[in-house]
Amino acid sequence: MTSARAAIRIARTLLSTQYAYMLEYRAEIALWALSGVLPLIMLGVWQNSGAASQAGWNPGQLRHYFVAAFLVRQFSVVWLIHVFEEDVVSGKLSPFLLQPLQPLWRYFAAHLAEQATRIPFVALMLLALAWVNPALLWVPTPENLALGIAAIWGAFLLRFLLQTLSSMLCFWSERAAALDRLLVIPYLFLSGLVAPLDTFPPAIKTVALATPFPAMVDFPARLLAGLPVDIGAGFLSLMLWCGLLSPLCWLSWRRGLRRYGAMGA
């Protein structure tokens, strides 16, 4: 079996198994999907405040931005650190380490499977939005849709890598998930989830753009909503941050593994 065919078989099997596993938890995933409505709440907060004109948009564009941010958030959720922390502390990581497959691929597959399980719930939520106010939805151009989906996957990958890096702290600390809770704050405010980046004061916007967070929400949401955006700069930012984080994740994994005590196993 060639290595490419073997890799495809592993990916297919992991994804189908994880999907079956996630379906067992469909009710929980439906609740997770419901809990990701923050952008829609923020839309309610901003829509009559003049934020649209401050960003140079019309009210319809502001609505589309927040609905797009809602979709970006739904399909870029990363919860790696919470399961990884438990697996390291309880020794559940050990069986994965005994097999000739980098254990992080299992977590990655689990996230993709969880996204696939989410699709029908998100579709139902969009239908509910259309029923409440049809003006909230729009039909993106095929180009915007394709680029938007690519950017959402890039955002997911970036978030996954960032959380992989913080998850590696689990090898040193039993409470590494606390760091993730700390990272939620800059993520919320600098990503464009709470307010579009164009409504920020210029200095804050400059600071935000120097971080990976706008690439996680603002960039893919604008693409999907068909708002003005520098496509090249957005994808370049995604690639640069992913390129920077990947070797850091690899290094910290190697170092962390030396400290792994296989506790509880």
């Binding site: 079996m1 592993i10 198994t17 067992e24 196993a265």
Partner: protein
Amino acid sequence: MSAQSTPIVLAQGLSKTYRIAEKQPGLKGTFRHLLRRRYRDLEAVKGIHFAIEEGEMVGFLGPNGAGKTTTLKMLSGLIHPSSGELLVAGAKPQRRQARFLQDITLVMGNKQQLIWDLPPWDSIRVNAAVYGIPEGVMQRRVRELADLLELGEELHRPVRKLSLGQRMKAELLTSLLHEPRVLFLDEPTLGLDVTAQGRVRDFLATYNRRTGATILLTSHYMGDITALCERVLLIHEGALFHDGPLGELTSRLAPHRQVRLELQQPQPRQVFEAFGTVESHQEHQVQLLVPREQLTETVAALLGRFDVLDLEVSDPPIEELMRSLFQQAGENEA
């Protein structure tokens, strides 16, 4: 030396030291722990040496905290040794190279790799893909292993719905799908009833015979060890206390042998005290403990002096010896 004569497991001066933070009880202890944490080194394994040849079934014994599981974790590459050399199937386990991982498996009675909410078949499919086992080969191996383990419909039921024994058997099947050359088994019969224990033992013996796989087995059930292993390693407080046949361990742990006599005429207890330690005495029956080196002359003297209807010489049961050793270790720890 030919490649065939190289031991499949070789440990030389293998040690593992854990650095452990110590905290005193109470508020003062909490603040001290926060501000000036104190550590101590715990030597879990202290420079042990042993070699295991391909195809051997070796029992790995020791009381709780003796260093058995730490050693197994080092042998399987889960943790790095603090010092010493380790070779398993020709590789350094801590490097976790793919070839090494293809050659080994570690089954832990208290941990499982099966996906809890799905049937074992799903975990089997994942393992087949990860180990690159072609579909047809996987089907054949599952059939063979399921036959040996007496598993059928259970493979299609969610793991959470299986009994402990069925789960362990499914766990074994999944772990052996890639036909590893070396099996590290940590308490594989933990919590199983007598019937299930027997099935797992039979399976391991058959598997070893059929495939020639090397097995290193830890168990607190001496029945597992006596049924499967001719050779045992006994680890005690991190150091290797014994490496050899089980019989030798018995001799070492029990310097005395039991002599049971059935007499024609009843005799008072005192007359036997010159021959050894009297364990029990009834009218016609006496049980003595006699030092091994004096056994022949003592038995001859007993037969010469009394009318003996029956005489039986035996070793104390291994379970009793181990229990007393482990108990002693526990008391020392306390």
